[in-house]
Symmetry: C2
Subunit: 80 residues, 2 copies
């Protein structure tokens, strides 16, 4: 069993109102020095057996079609 982590973040040019709300809350709660926050998603995908190139390509296709919206989001894969 191996784990592939898929990090999905909004593209830099897409507004992130959730992140902006967190920055506003930081100010109100007294956390100084927080310039920007962006919120995204993290998926931990457990795959059977070892992660070879074919498995990784499968997870990439999975991320493109199911986990991320490639119009507004970027994603990164990481084997852990």
């Amino acid at each position: 069993m191996a784990r592939v982590v898929v990090d999905v973040m909004l593209k830099p040019e897409i507004l992130d109102p959730q992140g902006q709300a967190i920055v506003g809350a930081c100010d109100r709660l007294g956390f100084k020095g927080v310039a920007q926050v962006r919120q995204g998603k993290r998926f931990e995908v457990e795959v059977d057996g070892e992660v070879d190139d074919a498995k990784l390509a499968d997870v990439r296709r999975l991320a493109e079609t199911l986990l991320a919206n490639p119009v507004i989001e970027d994603f990164e894969l990481r084997v852990e």
Copy 2:
């Protein structure tokens, strides 16, 4: 400007219906070999200046109070 990444995941003993729904969708879409998926959140926190121990402690407090629910979620900090 430095970036601290906060990964927030449900604790292992907490059910993750979103992850289970993704596993079900994998089956229907023909992605074989996906045993388990857990969905969490990823926050990219940009802080002013360098990240020293005090800043990191601030971000940890921020994660505990605002970004994660410590009753059901674990979080990890990573300086990038």
